[in-house]
Amino acid sequence: MSTMDLPATPLRRWERFTLAERLGRALFYLIALTAIMWSFKTIEIIPEFLYDAPQQTVDLFARMWPIDWSWYFPVVHPALVETLHIATLGTILAVIMASGVALLVARNITRSPILNFIGRFILVATRSIHSIVWALFFVAVFGPGALAGTLAIAMHSIGFTGKFLSEAIEDARRGPIEALIASGAPPLSILIKGYWPQVKPAFLSISIFRWDINVRESAVLGLVGGGGLGMALDTALANLYWDQAGLVLFVIFIVVVVTEILTTLVRSRII
């Protein structure tokens, strides 16, 4: 039994993975390594910029500090209010549009695969284009301002909201719905009395979650002309008013933290 004795049979060997698994992984590692090496070698980094990076960073914070609070009421406060309105209005718009698309995507509501696919495509496409890029579009169309920002937030949120809404609708249990169908209720009643009570918690939770994200996003939309805090930041940066930029960053930080706490509280209450 002891391994001190010379084993009569060759030592049994053990490998963690089968040959195919190992080859697959080796290939993957090779590709990953190649991609990383390629990125390192070809990326354009200007070394001269790097030398004074620490100094520039120190300089950056030195200019931001002390924060110039006197700017809060004349400039930053209106921008903050605008940002919150953009986020909220954008979320409401998004939820309305997403509800329509979600009904289109949910296979237990819309029985046509073609319509399902169209709905799905709308969800993927709106989500793939970032809200900032949407903002660029809408600024080009409607001019700079809150309208462009609101529409950008709304468009980008459709994908996210619609995806989770459609999943919630598909998760709805058939029982209560079949009971309504059997009683001869018209389609709209089935939707309101059969699906809505089941989807409601998910609906509220998704909306609040998205609102939280949208507050963060709307705070930067202004950098491309979408209104709100980003616009104040952009102005400050363009004028090299770093103490003012520091104030905007501070306000964004506070807003993000507060909305996160708020949404956590609200969600724990309603769910």
């Binding site: 039994m1 391994t3 001190m4 084993p7 030592l11 049994r12």
Partner: protein, 266 residues
């Protein structure tokens, strides 16, 4: 780093395998001792069963020995060292000589059976071997042998979470043996198992440790199982030792002292 061939009988360096516990005390909350001044000598061979009601500190005692729990005061002399004061590398080297079998098996569920057994060598092999799963060939072979010994020779490449409770505990035993321990601790190894499997597991522990002359300390709430396999019984009540003797000497009055009350004996 010591991947040398394991020894089967008395510790090769001739050091005794006995464990001397003196005045061991443990308080999780200050002023509320779970172990009160426990002194106990475990001979360098044979199976010692610790019996007693739950919450009496049996588990704490066992966990103090390999320092999964740090004792508040007292000493535990094992192979010339006081386990209670060891730290860092010295503690790890002491731990690798002490195998442990757990109540809920505590296998790493996403690893395969053989990987779980090889975990027993982690105190010996360098980190890179664990990372690449390149354990020394002698260790791998011995892991297979141990799996054969516990009757799981065909399960080496199954994931641990696919096994039944009894099978998992067998892997746990193989993992403990894989450490070449000079002492095996078993913390309620059978409480999650059915009676027949419990018996088999106890027999397996007693036999495999007996063959190698490894002393075993088992926490067990089933008095009959303890009596059946132990060479010595230690009875605990409220953090103190109230009985210490051979199974034959364990009488009803002792059980009364250990478990208190009377009704349950009928």
């Amino acid at each position: 780093m010591d991947a040398s061939a394991p020894q089967q009988t008395r510790a090769a360096d001739g050091v005794s395998r006995s464990l001397i516990i003196r005045n061991l005390r443990k308080e999780y909350r200050a002023g509320v001792p779970v172990l009160k001044d426990v002194s106990l000598t475990i001979e360098g061979r044979g199976l010692t069963a610790i019996i007693g009601p739950s919450g009496t500190g049996k588990s704490t005692l066992i966990r103090c020995i390999n320092r999964l729990v740090d004792p508040t005061s007292g000493e535990m002399i094992f192979q010339g060292q006081d386990l209670a004061t060891l730290r860092g590398k010295a503690l790890r080297q002491a731990r690798r000589r002490i195998g442990m079998v757990f109540q809920e098996y505590n296998l790493v569920e996403r690893l395969t059976v053989i990987e779980n057994v090889l975990c027993g060598r982690l105190g010996y092999v360098p980190v890179w071997r664990a990372w690449l799963r390149k354990f020394p060939a002698a260790d791998v072979d011995r892991a297979f042998q141990l799996l054969d010994e516990v009757g799981l020779g065909d399960f080496a490449n199954q994931r641990a979470d696919q096994l039944s409770g009894g099978q998992r505990q067998r892997v746990g035993i193989a993992r403990a043996l894989m450490q070449d321990p000079d002492l095996i601790l078993a913390d309620e190894p059978t409480s999650s198992l059915d009676p027949k499997t419990s018996f088999e597991i106890m027999e397996l522990i007693a036999r495999r440790a007996g063959e190698r002359d490894i002393p075993v300390i088992v926490n067990i709430h089933n008095v009959e199982l303890g009596r059946r396999f132990a060479d010595r019984i230690v009875g605990m009540s409220k953090g103190e030792i109230v009985f210490n003797g051979p199974p034959a000497a364990l009488e009803e009055k002792h059980l009364l002292a250990i478990y208190g009350g009377e009704g349950w004996l009928e």
